[in-house]
Symmetry: C2
Subunit: 213 residues, 2 copies
DNA sequence: GAAGTAATTGACACATGTTATAGAAATATT
DNA sequence: AATATTTCTATAACATGTGTCAATTACTTC
């Protein structure tokens, strides 16, 4: 990395750190570009040079935290694809729980920003990941052969994103959100699964419904 | 209505008409409070006095058009509650189809506004309506007795709102959106329905899946 | 070390949603 | 009819995200 790139990386990191600090200690409303530049010790223009927009800074914060539905993307060579799908929910929940209000406010800001491409990107990513996992579940026989994995994968991802969106708006707590998604997913998976896994999914569904309230 | 209220109503109507005209002929980006006030022939403050915020003007536009998932709310005394649920989708589709780009841009603007309460309100309304219809379907025996109608109703509403949200972001076309919701709803309903209605729902489900693509 | 290049800075500008203030006009109350 | 209240207008202001542009600084290349 050339020294120029190095300097840029340092500035990028300082800006992220400053954004993080402002959100944590002063709240999202106080995160203005002027305040951010001040705390990071750079000029007002620099965040724009390095990130593009305020929304892009927030996206970088989430990326830095390795979110972005990463659990859904984990390569999966062995084990049950359905278990993997459901396990991903638990990972997402744990991740958000680690600092719920922090991630909630960032997530909301991104989802309501006037840069629609920020939304589209995460929608597309989630749909692709979910379609992949569903296809694996079909291949492994957990879901019936005739299942349209593109359609089902899209359905699951949409449901997840919708609930996350409502969590972002403060409509659900993190725990409620994931329980909501889990029962929603199970209801649909039950309809597409093969007889072998049906009993265990049905149990899981009953549990999930009770866990909601 | 006192003459004062009358005057307010007239101004309100003029502002709505102006907003409508701007969105239709100049596009959502041109809908600024200054342009709106100018075209409505009122001062910049008046829309704030009469509506509260720009978002509230947009909400009024949708309300005026009798949207807000009104079809879901129709009182239902007779006929099949499930048919009513599915029929509501068709009505929503027809409504949006009547001027897709117009409603899409308004819907998106509301859903991405920085007034989160606007979002919460429409989420709450949709969930309540849907829970009511599901409860009726349970009462009539179309859905099995043990169905948790609050939970299922919430699930259906969330899925609808999820897809509408993506339609708002331009991710789906109107037709695709509703087809997506219909098949999603049918999959879940199939899992909760009584044996009497299962065959017809299964048929509808197959049709809906083919209609997507 | 000199010349060229890329990034940063600073000061300013603009459009926007929103609020403030003061005064004018219309309406309601007595 | 006189007074009080409500609403609207006009104008200015503020905070914010973002853009412009010239000057400067730091780095790369030769």
């Amino acid at each position: 990395m050339s020294r120029r790139e190095e300097a840029k990386a340092i500035n990028r990191a300082r800006i992220c750190a400053a954004a993080d600090a402002i959100i944590q200690h002063e709240g999202m409303e106080k995160l203005t570009m002027r305040r951010l530049a001040e705390l990071a010790g750079v000029s007002l223009r620099t965040p724009y040079n390095l990130f593009g927009s305020k929304t892009d800074v927030l996206i970088a914060l989430l990326d830095e935290a390795e979110f972005q539905l990463a659990p859904l993307r984990v390569a999966q060579d062995q084990g049950s694809a359905i278990a993997h799908l459901l396990g991903a929910l638990g990972k997402i929940e744990a991740f958000f729980d680690s600092d719920e209000e922090y991630y909630r406010s960032i997530y909301e800001a991104i989802m309501t920003s006037d840069h629609p491409e920020a939304r589209s990107t995460s929608v597309e990513r989630a749909i692709e990941s979910s379609q992949l996992l569903v296809a694996q579940a079909v291949a492994s026989g957990e879901l019936r052969r005739e299942t349209d994995s593109r359609s089902l994968g899209r359905h699951l991802a949409i449901h997840l994103l919708a609930v996350l969106g409502m969590w972002g708006s403060g409509f659900f707590s993190n725990g409620q959100s994931i329980a909501q998604v889990r029962s929603g997913w199970l209801a649909v998976l039950l309809h597409h699964c093969s007889e072998t896994v049906r009993p265990s999914l049905a149990d899981a569904y009953r549990e999930a419904c009770e866990a909601k309230g």
